[in-house]
């Protein structure tokens, strides 16, 4: 490939005459790579600096503008053995970065304050039982107030903002009782300090904030890590297109640089990377990634084509249309809008608990105050006890119970090759009782493979797959996957529209259409045996074979579907492909309930029916046509090979050739959900013990501090169990030959 990719749109020009480029690097596996990459690049003339971030595998390169081209950087990295992909950080990620830094600052302030206040508080506690003078105690209390007030004002911001946001929408969340508790405890402590009383609660308040911020920060950090890996993966797939320039020259461009109206050339065997209209040429295209339909569609001048389709036999010239134009995309966008508005806002477990919890706690505090006044205590003492009730019930453990489990469980998912898009997935996944699969690209592998290799003579197969290395045709690529010897034959020549040929051992070898290989009869027989497969023929001298190529099932699909059913989940298939093509897959997997030929709207209608039956549906799909269904399902998963729009709708994305992550996700989610409820239970029991004590006036600041840290630690330790036994990383799936779907009913 002599062509170089034009990276200019990714280069940032800086004021000091340098240019800056961010790259996501593939192939970093050890610390020595840092030196190799940075050292190697710095030898290039014109490079000002290269810095590799080993945590997220991104490289920042700077050079003096005009002295070298960005392509030289990529070429040098390629020479060193790394693949580099231009990287453009997404807005969401930058926003998350900022938020994580802010949370860390709040955490640092709260940590500093809680340690220093504890120093003062412990002195007061021990002084109270020995010989502290009231003057010293007041001095310590004033100092504590001096630290606590600004610290809470700063470090409490995340909670103030979230509580205000909820109240403005006339909802409550966990942060509302937290904020009420914190503010009341602070103001009471200040009043007590002015009255030079014995007890203040500055230490409890700041410690509470510190614990809560720990939970928030960890949650955020986990999500950020997942997002960084996911967006690296996205940039590894940077789509490119051949743009036809004004002067007729062809330049390789990232699709992000294309504008509507540009002309793009698509050669046979290339994936179409833009939405557009054909202006010249004709071809058959495979739209399985878009619509799920595996039969090829003939396109000619004025046909609409979609990004993600595979171009088979003819060269096409397209004009790029603006995103969102075209009948299919329009429909998908419209359905997505409806699905998004119709999707009932799922109320998170913690918020549901808070909805009941807050009124109960506040009522308990009020009852305490009234009871104490009625039984003859002073108003001051009554208020003090009521506030002690509020402080002790301030949902420290409750607010940690859910996020800590989420952090640990998303770590477990991350190791299983699943990336979460949404935070509340666990709760929704745990309730799932029906799994709906898309067929093409979800149950089957996104790429083609040879299905009848077992029946062929191994020598012929070996020769065919080695010859296939010299062709770019999608069918040949499928054959080439089987090659054990990855050296293409020296003098292989490709004849466009026919196939490849080479002379080996004095006999001519051909791979291509049945007519080209003179194997029409054999091909007719093969097609008769499997009408949904494509055929590719191979001849070597007099010997001929015909290979059937189509999308095979994911290697572990049958086993996983069976295990899902054993868990009591109802598995179904909703496919955009023809019913005749879905039937054998459904039979191979033992799925009785399936439907083919579904339009995006049909899929949504089916999901709505299931919803009306009271089912909670997990939708697993990858095509553009699945995006609305993913959005409207209770919870959704999609493979990493899915269309971008579809991935954006899915709650989680899984990696690899196997279907196992679907099962792991459900297992981990169920475990996480169980632990969340256990943790809430622990928090509840803690409150059942603590509230009566506080009610009776036994809660001194020392008891409050012990109770709060004790319950928080207990909940956190329990959450660690979400890691589970299966915490070892799943080894990269070996490039095994996919198991073909069994034929017949």
């Amino acid at each position: 490939m002599a062509e170089t990719l034009d990276l200019t749109i990714y280069v940032k020009r800086q004021d000091d005459g340098t240019a800056h480029l961010d790259l996501a690097i593939e192939g970093i596996d050890c610390a020595a790579c840092i030196d190799e990459i940075e050292g190697g690049l710095c030898k290039l003339p014109g490079i000002v600096g290269a810095r590799l971030n080993y945590t997220n595998h991104r490289l920042a390169v700077e050079w003096r503008d005009g002295q070298m081209s960005p392509a030289a950087v990529v070429a040098e990295l390629h020479r060193l053995g790394y693949r580099a992909h231009p990287f453009k950080s997404r807005l969401v990620e930058e926003e998350e970065d900022r938020r994580a830094k802010w949370l860390l600052k709040c955490l640092a302030v709260a940590g500093f304050a809680s340690m220093n206040i504890m120093l003062l508080a412990v002195s007061v506690w021990s002084g109270n039982v020995t010989d502290i003078t009231p003057e010293t105690r007041d001095f310590f209390h004033w100092l504590a107030a001096l630290i606590a007030l600004p610290a809470v004002a700063y470090a409490g911001q995340p909670f103030f903002q979230s509580a205000m946001g909820a109240l403005r929408n006339r909802r409550t969340n966990m942060d509302v009782p937290i904020i009420i508790g914190i503010l009341l405890a602070l103001s009471m402590s200040v009043v007590e300090t002015i009255n030079s009383a014995e007890h203040t609660y500055f230490d409890s308040v700041v410690m509470l904030l510190f614990f809560l911020l720990c939970g928030r920060y960890l949650d955020q950090a986990m999500r950020r890590k997942t997002r960084a890996v996911a967006s690296n993966l996205a940039s590894f797939r940077t789509e490119v297109a051949h743009r036809i320039e004004e002067n007729g020259e062809i330049a390789l461009m990232p699709t992000a640089a294309l504008k509507s109206g540009d002309r793009v050339l698509v050669r046979p065997g290339e994936r179409i990377s833009v939405d557009g209209i054909v202006i010249s040429g004709s071809s058959d295209i495979d739209e399985s990634l878009v619509t799920g339909e595996t039969a090829h569609r003939a396109v000619m001048v004025d046909s609409q084509v979609y990004a993600g389709s595979m171009n088979y036999n003819g060269t096409l010239t397209l004009t790029v249309t603006a995103a969102g134009k075209g009948t299919l995309l329009d429909e998908v966008e419209r359905l997505l809008e409806n699905a998004a508005t119709a999707k009932s806002r799922y109320v998170q477990l913690a918020d549901r608990v808070a909805k009941i919890y807050a009124p109960v706690v506040h009522a308990a505090a009020a009852i305490t105050a009234v009871t104490w006044i009625v039984t003859g205590a002073s108003v001051h003492d009554a208020l003090l006890t009521a506030i002690a009730v509020l402080i002790i019930t301030c949902p420290c453990a409750l607010a940690l119970a859910v996020p800590v489990v989420q952090v640990v469980a998303s770590g477990a998912l991350f190791r299983a090759g699943v990336f979460l898009n949404a935070g509340d997935v666990f709760e929704r996944l745990a309730r799932v009782d029906t799994v709906v699969f898309d067929k093409t690209g979800t149950l089957t592998l996104p790429s083609m493979s040879v299905v009848d290799a077992g029946n062929m003579h191994p020598d012929l197969l070996k020769a065919a797959s080695r010859l296939a290395l010299s062709s770019h045709h999608p069918l040949a690529t499928a054959v080439a996957q089987m090659a054990s010897d990855c050296r293409p034959y020296d003098d292989a020549t490709e004849e466009p529209g026919c196939g490849v040929r080479a002379v080996v051992d004095g006999r001519e070898m051909r791979l291509g259409s049945p007519a080209f290989c003179d194997a029409q009869v054999l091909a007719d027989q093969a097609v008769a045996s499997d009408p949904f497969a494509s055929v590719i023929a191979f001849s070597w001298g007099e010997e001929q074979i015909v290979l059937l190529v189509r999308q095979a099932l994911r290697p572990d699909a049958a086993a996983i579907v069976q295990q899902l059913r054993q868990r009591g989940l109802d598995c179904r298939i909703l496919s955009g492909d023809r019913p005749e093509a879905v039937a054998p897959i459904a039979a191979a997997l033992g799925i009785a309930l399936w439907r083919g030929g579904c339009k995006p709207a049909d899929k949504i209608a089916m999901l709505e029916d299931l919803k009306a039956e009271g089912r909670k549906v997990l939708m697993v799909g990858d095509g553009l046509n699945d995006a609305p269904a993913l959005a409207s399902a209770h919870v959704s998963l999609s493979p990493i090979s899915a269309a971008d729009l579809t991935q954006a709708q899915a709650d989680a994305v899984f990696l690899g050739d196997r279907l196992r992550p679907v099962l792991s996700t459900i297992e981990i989610a169920c475990r996480a959900h169980r632990l969340m409820r256990q943790n809430l239970g622990i928090a509840l029991i803690y409150n059942l013990i603590a509230v009566p004590l506080a009610f009776l006036g036994f809660v001194t600041p020392l008891v409050a501090a012990l109770a709060m840290s004790g319950s928080s630690s207990l909940v956190t330790l329990n959450a660690l169990r979400a890691r589970g036994r299966a915490s070892k990383p799943i080894p990269e799936a070996p490039p095994s030959h996919p198991v073909p779907a069994a034929q017949g009913a």
């Binding site: 840092i34 971030n53 080993y54 945590t55 860390l104 600052k105 640092a108 500093f112 010293t136």
Partner: protein
């Protein structure tokens, strides 16, 4: 106990300087690549020239 009058503020001042140091390190990007920092210390790039 008069010693507390300057001892306690001094302790606070020390704590504050620790906080300031953390804020500075956060701002200067020392937490951007935590894993990288751990392995860079092993590289002998200072020996090259």
């Amino acid at each position: 106990m008069e010693v507390l009058i300057y001892l306690v503020p001094m302790a606070l001042l020390l704590g504050l300087s620790g906080l300031a140091a953390f804020m500075w390190s956060l701002k200067s990007g020392q937490y951007d690549d935590v894993q990288g920092a751990a392995v860079r210390v092993l590289s002998d790039d200072d020996m090259r020239k």
